[in-house]
């Protein structure tokens, strides 16, 4: 089989095209597709970035609620939170925020339930080092709730409400105490 000049030109051009395409793929490919050494520091950075993005998003979503609460309009804030919770029903931040508002409105039992729900979904709220930490507030809730439990038990009260309060407070206490370290 012999190649004439036309065939050789075609082969050369095809080779050039393939080489150009490969170069283009390498240059324009996302960084995580390029076989480079993905170190621990990169993963830490990615995690930190995701965390920052999450914080910024939470601030954007729940900012109006927190602004109302900061201005003393706690009940308005709670209603606004109801509205937002339609779009983000399982978001632990919303649950913990509701716990904050209910605590301010004197509903200790319900506040404890919301904190327990939030902490079960995300441990950041009992982590001292997290910017989301609510340790101090949760400690206050536990302290107040212990008094409520004692007085209700002394009055001979029983029922699912009291059992659920005891369960939630015990859960929060165990989370604050931490695991085996």
């Amino acid at each position: 089989m012999s190649f004439d000049r036309y065939d050789k030109t075609l082969l050369m051009l095809s080779g050039l095209l393939i080489a150009a395409a490969c170069a283009l793929l390498i240059v324009s490919a996302p960084h995580d597709m390029i076989p480079t050494t993905v170190g621990k520091s990169d993963r830490t950075l990615a995690k930190a970035l995701a965390h920052q993005a999450r914080l910024a998003l939470l601030e954007r979503i729940y900012g109006p609620v927190e602004a109302l609460a900061a201005n003393g309009h706690v009940q308005d804030a709670l209603l606004k939170l109801e509205e937002i919770s339609r779009s983000y029903p399982g978001e632990p931040y919303g649950m913990v925020l509701k716990g904050d508002l209910l605590f301010r409105l004197g509903a200790i039992e319900e506040a404890a339930a919301r904190y327990a729900d939030g902490v079960k979904r995300q441990g950041d709220y009992v982590d001292r080092t997290s910017p989301l930490s609510r340790r101090q507030r949760i400690e206050q809730v536990i302290q107040r709730a212990m008094g409520v439990i004692a007085s209700r038990q002394a009055a001979g009260e029983s029922g699912p409400g009291l059992s659920s309060l005891v369960r939630n407070i015990n859960y929060l206490r165990s989370r604050l105490a931490g695991g085996c370290e």
Partner: protein, 308 residues
């Protein structure tokens, strides 16, 4: 005396068996018909049909749990006391003010309180205005068009009326003549009335606002909460002193043990009892939990302490 032949005896015995087999369902039917029947009076909230739709599954659940046939009787709030006094029903499901009235006058016993909304077995009343109205505090309410909920509503009328009085505003003298909307769904009408400018201020149960916001019927940004009352118990299940104590205990236990997963068969459908009733659960409650309502009723000269 002649003895019937054996074949004839057998034939008679067969007839007897057939008769017994045929009669069995009738006898069972008779038993069902004579099953004890107990009525529960349900205070109508928004409308009779809505009340029945909500509480028929609960009534069926109580029948299943106790072996007694419970019948749901929807009762207008204004007629409740008269019909209870006449002995039309032994168990009641009412708002907390009606509970206090029946307790004070007829020794109704509290069995359980409904758990619903952000504050569990309690809720509050609020005074609301439209966000752009400039009405932001109780001082601004003076001389305004105010609408209240029905007169026997603890968090739609009583609590807010009391709050105004304690803030130095007499609703009878210091407001532009106040109104109460007519017909069904009064609480929702009040909220929409404020939104569309019919009233300057409305007294509404916090629970209704929560539900409307959660269902997307309103956006809280459109309203200002001018003031909120203290938290008080809301819907309550009670029993007349004449009711069988064992049955009372069974009903209370059935209510307290009611879980989200409990279902009943009703008109060919299997329904979740709590979800159908719009309730999160039931809690035993002491009569002393209603003392704040008693204090409000005394201050506002409302039943059962009304003096002319």
């Amino acid at each position: 005396m002649t003895i019937a032949p054996f074949s004839q005896l057998c034939s008679r015995f067969k007839s007897l068996i057939c008769l017994a087999v045929c009669a069995a369902p009738l006898i069972t039917g008779c038993d069902d018909r004579h099953k004890p029947v107990v009525k529960i009076g349900y205070m109508i909230c928004n409308s009779e049909s809505e009340t029945l739709q909500r509480f028929l599954p609960l009534t069926r659940y109580l029948s299943d749990r106790t072996g007694i046939e419970f019948i749901a009787v929807p009762v207008d709030t204004q007629d409740f006391e008269r019909r209870f006094k006449a002995g039309e029903f032994a168990f009641t499901h009412t708002n907390s003010l009606l509970y206090v009235i029946l307790r004070e006058k007829y020794q109704l016993a509290p069995l359980a309180a409904e758990r619903r909304g952000n504050f569990g077995v309690r809720t509050a009343g609020v005074l609301i205005s439209r966000k752009d109205s400039g009405i932001t505090s109780l001082a601004h309410v003076r001389g305004r068009k105010v609408a209240f909920g029905p007169m026997l509503a603890p968090t739609g009328y009583l609590a807010e009326y009391d709050l105004l009085l304690r803030s130095g505003i007499d609703p009878e003298k210091d407001l532009a003549p106040y109104t109460i909307p007519s017909g069904s769904f009064k609480h929702e009408k009040l909220v929409y009335g404020v939104l569309y400018g019919q009233y300057d201020v409305a007294a509404t149960p916090l629970l209704d606002l929560e539900v409307m916001a959660r269902e997307g019927k309103i956006t809280p940004d459109d309203f200002t909460i001018i003031a909120q009352t203290e938290l008080i118990p809301y819907c309550t299940v009670g029993a007349a002193p004449s009711a069988d104590p064992q049955l009372i205990a069974k009903v209370q236990q059935a209510l307290v043990e009611l879980k989200e997963s409990n279902t009943v068969e009703l008109n060919g459908e299997r329904l979740k009892v709590l979800k159908s009733s719009w309730v999160d659960g039931f809690e035993p409650i002491a009569d002393s939990a209603y003392d704040p309502i008693r204090a409000m009723a005394r201050r506002t000269n409302m039943p059962p302490y009304q003096k002319y």
